[in-house]
Subunit: 254 residues, 2 copies
Amino acid sequence: MEQIKIVKIKDNLRDVVEDLVTEEVPLTLIVGGEEFITLLCSPQDLEDLCAGFLFTNGLLTPPQDVEKIVIDQERWTANITLREESKVKGLVFKRLYTSGCGRGALFYNVADVIYRSKNASVLKISVLKLKDLMLSFQKRSELYLKTGGVHSAGLAQDNIFVFREDIGRHNALDKVIGRGLQDGVDFSKTLMVTSGRISSEVIFKIQKCGIPMIISRSAPTDQAVKLAKDMGLTLVGFARGTRMNIYSGAERVT
Amino acid sequence: MEQIKIVKIKDNLRDVVEDLVTEEVPLTLIVGGEEFITLLCSPQDLEDLCAGFLFTNGLLTPPQDVEKIVIDQERWTANITLREESKVKGLVFKRLYTSGCGRGALFYNVADVIYRSKNASVLKISVLKLKDLMLSFQKRSELYLKTGGVHSAGLAQDNIFVFREDIGRHNALDKVIGRGLQDGVDFSKTLMVTSGRISSEVIFKIQKCGIPMIISRSAPTDQAVKLAKDMGLTLVGFARGTRMNIYSGAERVT
């Protein structure tokens, strides 16, 4: 976070005060020596962001495909060294192939049928536990509390064991997934907690990981609900205080 | 909006009820007969979205470059017919050139210096008027009030004369800008009102239009503040009730 001078207006008072704003950096991913993409993001946990971004966009699976990720915080680059040279070609090909990309839905096809298999996870969780998790999630949203400018996401079982923040809704998710991949987490036993809206792209991401459940304090879109039903995922929205809406997969909530 | 059955949990009660969720559609832009990009968006005001997207991403300037935009609501395509054939080539070239695109910052370079000129607009506006505008903005956020799932943006002078909503923060802005372009609005006399966070990309968009001022109920990032200062733009954040923070260009707020 950065401290800057602002003009604060409250009722009829006008003061110059110091205030905190959230940082935003342009991180350029260099894969196999070649510039690949620039992400606008918060400057924390950038290895996790790279790992998650590459995976959720269907490009590479860390850590199997990735030998190391080196972040340069002066030039804001991420140098990603691959384990097999052959993967680079696939990546470059994909880059050209998908150049007419959507905002957010960069590298996968929204109508992609290969992810349309049912999630078979037998995970169950009680309403009480969900409320506890949301409460502790809210409490941990530090950057948000201080600057109001970021999204958070977390991976939970009995408690939230991965927690990440970012100015981008998708980046926060990717950071959590990237950390989980690098730690070898069994995603089928986890649930994703997020502060952001749940659109179809978010559902594609958790399905790709095999995460059976997502809960948010925000709203889902109709497409997200349809996809979640198709894929056998549990989608909980508007989880605030003692309320929540279950849009899909209510059998996992006991 | 679509009505669906959900499981609603409140305190210890669990009920199946009908609820509204916001719609999300994949709109494929076809420019000069060729598929160009697919945007995930709310299904309203799609001509405005196309016009705004093409302009803010530096591709085309409607209505000069665009003869007509025809929306097909069955296949969710937008057929964009250009006035001059030559423009198409530029577009295809750009598409390949920028294939390593950022999420959101698709077609322009974040560090692009050509937009770094100072905005010379002499627009001034009182704190009282800003409060009025934010209040009426909040009241008009219909989709948000019903489903909690969308962002809104508006263009204002003495009052808000263009108002648009979308599941995407950038789409809402693009819809407003697209409408303004098609109506021949003099942007230098307007201010942008938005519900969303203000990142560097948002600042690039309003600068490209020549809009001298942006106000939001949410937070800006540090990069957005720096750019706004460089460009001579007025940036107001956290405008809620009788409070607001002026991060840049306070001389326009009287």
